[in-house]
């Protein structure tokens, strides 16, 4: 299950300071949107507005036919943060069950999901006993345990090293093919965004506004060989150029 997202004239100001200039975006159900830009450009603010964790100063967000608040109250949203939200005193499988208990929804069998996430034999381990990559997998499993229609991800792989980041990115792409969701994905990492997303929302430096929406016209899930594809190289170079040009300006 996935839902459309409609962002209309959404902005956020803190006093006189713009955190986010007005943004408009229509996201199709099951689409993967990456928000790319320098630090402080408003990517996370936009994500948190969609999550109904921050009030917009103007505009509105709709998830399907609902407002963002209604969607959150209906437990249609899942959130993956950079720092795993796995409760340190719970076992991995109990943490996944915890999401289901709080949400009052059983999206998947927790044991099955953890096995599919490559965590067989680690279900009874606590956060301190898991590697960074495993912990982030548990974090994602917990975030989707109640089968949300929209997954909001704030630099989820930023704490991982390059190899692990690529590996978990590919794995996540395959997972999404099995359990389609509409995804908003904040990242600083251009290659990661091009590899995973259907479209990239490229932000200018603060005060953030959308410079360009860049399409990645290649079906997902994508194979690792896509990194050598001329289209990948061209899109990544174009996005890099956009960001470097703006930063230089």
């Amino acid at each position: 299950m996935a839902a459309t997202i409609s962002i209309r004239n959404v902005s956020r100001r803190f006093g006189e300071t713009w955190a986010l200039r007005p943004v408009d975006l229509e996201v199709a159900a099951g689409e993967f949107i990456a928000l790319v830009g320098p630090s402080g450009c408003g990517k996370t603010t936009l994500l948190r507005i969609v999550a109904d964790l921050v009030e917009p100063s103007s505009g509105e967000v709709r998830i399907g036919p609902d407002t963002a608040r209604r969607a959150r109250q209906e437990r249609l949203l899942g959130l993956v943060s950079q720092r795993p939200a796995v409760l340190p005193w719970k076992r991995a499988i109990d943490d996944v069950r915890f999401t289901q208990r709080i949400a009052g929804k059983v999206g998947f069998d927790p044991g099955k999901v953890l096995r599919e996430f490559g965590l067989e034999g680690h279900e009874a381990k606590r956060a301190r006993q898991l590697s960074g990559g495993m912990l982030q997998r548990v974090n994602i499993a917990s975030a989707i345990a109640h089968d949300p229609a929209v997954l909001l991800m704030d630099e989820p792989f930023a704490a991982l090293d390059e190899m692990k980041r690529e590996e978990i990115g590919e794995w996540f792409d395959r997972e999404l093919a099995m359990r389609p969701k509409t995804v908003l994905f904040v990242t600083h990492h251009i290659d990661e965004a091009v590899m995973l997303a259907d479209r990239l929302l490229v932000f200018s430096p603060a005060p953030g506004r959308v410079l360009e929406v860049v399409d990645v016209p290649v079906p997902r899930p994508r194979d690792v060989s896509f990194r050598q594809d001329p289209r990948f190289v061209a899109i990544a170079a174009h996005v890099r150029g956009l960001l470097m040009h703006r930063q230089a300006a």
Partner: protein, 279 residues
């Protein structure tokens, strides 16, 4: 290293562990005994030095063996009053926790109450205890209510402050998770805020728990005809320094025991033990 090499080295390791286990255990026992004996020996040394070099009379600084003798001879009398002190300390400690934790939870549930009640709590904390004790004495006389109120008043503030700090220490990432799941206040409180606050709450018990005995004795010393405080007061009036020391020794041991118990309990309840935050 090939698999047989690994197996061989594992065998050697096990054999080494087995042969070293005897002496290692003896060493551990010796270290544990030293940890107990060293402070006792240093206190005794200081005590005897004070007797030898101060020239003070025996009713001011009695010999340790005399203090132990008093504890043994008067044990029925001391135990009777110890029971009274323990009752005051335990009830006061309970009140301190009900008030401290209760107020902190109320502030979390209804934040405006914090602005209303916290200044009153701070003011109460800063009123001289002697004045409070006098008022309580006038209000309730020499009763368990007056004494337990004094213990509760001295103990509730550390519990309140630590619980408030602990409840605020919950990880923002976890709180976002609960908000996105539209969790109720109770779910967020019981499943995230309270477990995060537990180490702070237990730390407060180390202060309030061991302090309860000392404050109970002080309250009894001033207004009571029962308890260890009364025994000290009575002994002083009769120039029985040995009895004062005996009670002090008992009270110190009790406070230390309570502190150690709460500390070890805290270690068990502390989810951070062995936990490393991953970046």
């Amino acid at each position: 290293m090939t698999p047989p090499d690994l197996a061989l080295s594992a065998d050697i390791g096990t054999a080494e562990k087995r042969s070293a286990s005897g002496p290692a255990r003896s060493r551990q026992v010796a270290v544990a005994m030293l940890r107990v004996a060293a402070p006792v020996a240093s206190v005794l040394l200081l005590w005897y030095c004070s007797i030898w070099f101060s020239g003070l009379p025996a009713f001011v600084i009695p010999r340790p063996e005399r203090v132990l003798e008093v504890l043994w001879v008067d044990h029925a009398f001391i135990l009777e009053h110890l029971w009274a002190t323990l009752q005051v300390a335990a009830i006061g400690f309970l009140w301190a926790n009900v008030a401290g934790i209760g107020l902190a939870v109320l502030f979390d549930l209804l934040p405006p109450t914090r602005h209303l009640l916290l200044p009153a709590a701070i003011t109460l904390r800063n009123v001289p205890y002697i004045a409070l004790i006098s008022v309580l004495m006038l209000a309730f006389g020499d009763s368990i209510l007056s004494k337990t109120s004094i213990v509760a008043l001295s103990g509730f503030f550390p519990v309140l402050v630590n619980t408030m700090a602990g409840l605020r220490a919950a990880d923002e990432v976890q709180l976002d998770r609960m908000r996105i799941l539209n969790a109720s206040w109770w779910q967020t409180f019981s499943q995230v805020r309270l477990p995060y606050a537990l180490p702070s709450i237990v730390a407060a018990q180390e202060i309030t728990g061991s302090g309860a005995i000392i404050v109970a004795i002080a309250a009894e010393w001033m207004i009571s005809s029962t308890g260890l405080g009364y025994v000290i007061n009575n002994a002083m009036q009769n120039y029985r320094g040995d009895k004062v020391y005996a009670v002090a020794l008992l009270a110190t041991a009790l406070s230390f025991l309570i502190f150690s118990f709460v500390h070890s309990l805290g270690k068990r309840l502390d989810w951070r033990t062995g936990y490393q935050q991953r970046g």
